[in-house]
């Protein structure tokens, strides 16, 4: 028998669900406990932020919101692996990565609270990242285009796109991987496999044993990691970024995690999945193990946890206040950002809309 091609997909995990370290060869960054505390703290603040967002929605102060509960390791892991000059193309719930890169909670609230200014990220490096892309998987091709721009200009930068298990079924995702392989583009695709695309389970998305292997067809490096283990995510994404930066090709990383919350606040997951499954998933969630791992090393304790959570609460309260104090944009705003300059024909409609406003006041 002649084999035309064969492949295997590595699974990477450093810390298991109980907080036990299962490998001795800790990556260099994970040997720096101060750094690991910093990452853990951002996981905590992401969770505090998420709870605050849901509370805002439940009290009528925010529109539909997509929670990131349970994704903290995957999101903070990928965000923290990136360099400032890299570029992030997210779908819509990767707040942990975005907060790391400077997106402000108030900007997230503004976007889900019905105000486009939430997409006008003020802080670098988030300011040069893409905004949320609601049409599934379309952002993967934007990342491929950005990666092509970096390659054309000879810049040592990498574009990172994220996608869900459901989104990995879209042609746009495969198309992005395909051109990345064909043109050796500096792109890293992270599939955050949280097992559920609204109500449709992972097994309905693909018959393959992993989603990572979708990159094999495109000639990319592929790996599956425990997406609840921030060390594994950070290591796999970091290695992929290094390869891409050095012109050694793109990668697909499947971070296996679980969506502990509903798809969005408009969803009720009890309609389609059992309590038992969710209970089991809570036992594998990313925070407990990292806290345990840090505590075992003497780098974290109850007092620190309580103090940091209080600090996060205070931070989020300030962000919520800033969001709630934001006045709506003037009516002219819906016209003013459509083109570099308002075209003459559109100006007629703009003036009409403004005249209605003037009458109303």
């Amino acid at each position: 028998m002649t084999i035309a091609a064969k492949f295997e997909i590595e699974y990477l995990q450093y810390v298991d669900a109980t907080g036990k370290q299962v490998r001795k060869d800790l990556p260099k960054f994970a040997q720096d406990l101060e750094y690991m505390v910093k990452l853990y703290k951002l996981m905590v603040s992401t969770r505090v932020f998420d709870a605050k967002s849901i509370a805002l929605q439940r009290t009528g102060k925010l529109g539909t919101y997509a929670s990131c509960l349970g994704h903290e390791a995957a999101h903070v892991g990928l965000g923290s692996a990136m360099l400032p000059e890299d570029l992030l193309a997210v779908s819509y719930r990767e707040y942990g990565a975005q907060l790391y890169r400077g997106v402000q909670p108030r900007e997230v609230y503004m976007y889900w609270g019905g105000d486009e200014r939430g997409n006008d990220y003020q802080n670098e490096p988030a300011r040069h990242d893409f905004a949320w892309a609601v049409p599934i998987a379309t952002q993967c091709l934007h990342a491929a285009g950005a990666a092509l721009a970096f390659k054309i200009r000879g810049e040592k930068r990498v574009a990172v796109c994220t996608i869900g298990d459901g989104g990995s079924s879209k042609g746009d995702f495969m198309a992005a991987l395909n051109i990345t392989g064909a043109r050796n583009l500096p792109l890293v695709a992270v599939i955050v496999n949280n097992q559920w695309a609204i109500s449709v389970p992972r097994k309905i998305q693909s018959g393959g044993p992993t989603l990572a292997q979708k990159g094999i067809a495109a000639g990319l490096f592929c790996i599956q990691v425990d997406g609840n283990d921030i060390i594994a995510v950070r290591k796999a994404v970091g290695d992929a970024l290094d390869r891409a930066r050095n012109g050694e090709g793109g990668s697909v990383i499947e971070a296996v995690t679980y969506r502990l919350g509903d798809h969005t606040t408009a969803d009720d997951a009890r309609r389609y999945r059992g309590e038992e499954e969710v209970k089991e998933a809570w036992a594998r969630e990313p925070m407990i193990r990292m806290r345990k791992w840090l505590e075992d090393k003497g780098a974290w304790d109850d007092a620190k946890e309580t103090a940091w959570k209080a600090e996060c609460d205070e931070w989020m309260d300030k962000e919520v206040d800033a969001y709630l104090e934001t006045q709506p944009q003037p009516v002219s705003a819906m016209f003013d950002y459509l083109y570099a300059e308002v075209p003459a024909d559109l100006e007629k409609q703009r003036s009409y809309a403004l005249s209605l406003e003037a009458q109303a006041h």
Binding site: E116, R117, N119, D120, Y121, R127, F130, A131, A133, P135, T138, C140, L141, H142, A143, A144, G145, A146, A147, L148, A149, F150, K151, I152, A159, G171, D172, A175, A176, N178, I179, A182, A333, M334, Y337, L338, Y339, A340, P343, A344, D345, L346
Partner: protein, 326 residues
């Protein structure tokens, strides 16, 4: 000075801008060594290399999405859809991202891209190679939809489209790609977008059209002149944002209007012009606005396509009807 065809004018504009602006990049299927199926990118690959004249995998979604990504990073990306009938997979990226990115981000991210596509029927092509679908784009806010109708306007408008800071869908009437030649100085001079071109002055009836139908309208105007009827011919050129003022001024003068387009009639862009005339110029009108268009059918395969495309005769007849009405 060399006389060139419309397709050569497209190539000349691309080559000029690529030579004068390093950030301009062309991408699509077969645009590289092959120079495009209509030869729009002929010679560009040799001149500018494979990283500025980029053959993509055979997937329109890839072309459109990568174009959006490139443009957001300051690359002036010019995407080619091989035919307008293959532009549909691009529509999500054009409608959901190219046209919205500036608005979505309050100006933080912009998409200065051009989506070129050979457009329209009349070249005896297979199915999906002869569509007129500009009206599917004219309803998308944030885009410019441009259709040149001569070599000189193809050159000037394409330069303007590339330099425009916002996305432009640039449809090239393939029926007149090689119909005639004219002198087009290669001087890098752009023509203005967002304006209609009055190609012929007249006083009795206004013929409003775009793309390949400019030819039939000019012929109709000649024929009408032979019968003592003075027809004004307007090439809309930029469909959106529409320069309605030029059309309104003309109809104020003539009192009659015939809108001519190749696309199906219902909800074609002619409907928008007729509606605007009804809203803004009703009391200038001496006769109902006429529309000479494709039928509400798929453009037939080529044995019947000339029966579908608006003919000079249909334009003349419609113009005369407007005169008979008053």
């Amino acid at each position: 000075m060399a006389q060139i065809t419309l397709i050569q004018a497209v190539t000349q504009a691309l080559a000029w801008e690529m030579a004068h602006d390093d950030s301009v990049v062309v991408l699509g299927e077969d645009v590289g060594v092959n120079g495009g199926v209509f030869r729009a990118t002929q010679g560009l690959s040799e001149k500018f290399g494979e990283w500025r004249v980029i053959d993509t995998p055979l997937d329109e979604t890839t072309i459109a999405g990568v174009t959006v990504g490139l443009a957001t990073q300051g690359i002036k990306a010019i995407a080619e859809a091989q035919f307008e009938g293959f532009i549909y997979p691009m529509m999500e990226q054009i409608a959901c991202h190219a046209a919205r990115m500036r608005n979505r981000t309050r100006g933080r991210i912009t998409v200065p891209a051009v989506f070129r596509a050979p457009w329209g029927g009349g070249i005896h092509a297979p199915e999906h190679h002869s569509e007129a679908n500009e009206h599917l784009f004219t309803n998308i806010p944030g885009l410019r939809v441009v259709l040149p109708s001569s070599p000189a306007r193809a050159y000037g408008l394409l330069l303007a489209a590339i330099r425009d800071p916002d996305p432009v869908v640039f449809f090239e009437p393939k029926r007149i790609y090689r119909q005639y030649k004219e002198e087009v100085p290669d001087d890098g001079e752009a023509l203005p977008l967002d304006v209609c071109f009055v190609l012929r002055d007249g006083t009795d009836v206004t013929l409003v059209t775009w793309g390949a139908q400019v030819k039939e309208c000019l012929e109709a105007a000649d024929e009408l002149a032979g019968e003592g009827i003075s027809a004004e011919v307007i090439d809309v050129a930029t469909l959106t944002p529409l320069d309605f003022d030029t059309i309104a001024e003309s109809v104020h003068k003539t009192g009659r209007c015939v809108v001519v387009h190749e696309a199906p009639k219902t909800a074609g862009f002619g409907a928008e012009i007729a509606a605007r005339l009804a809203e803004e110029c009703l009391y200038d009108l001496l006769a109902p606005v006429e529309r000479v268009t494709g039928y509400d059918v798929h453009i037939p395969l080529y044995r019947l396509e000339t029966k579908y495309l608006p003919s000079t005769e249909r334009v003349v007849t419609a113009a005369k009807r407007t005169l008979a009405a008053s």
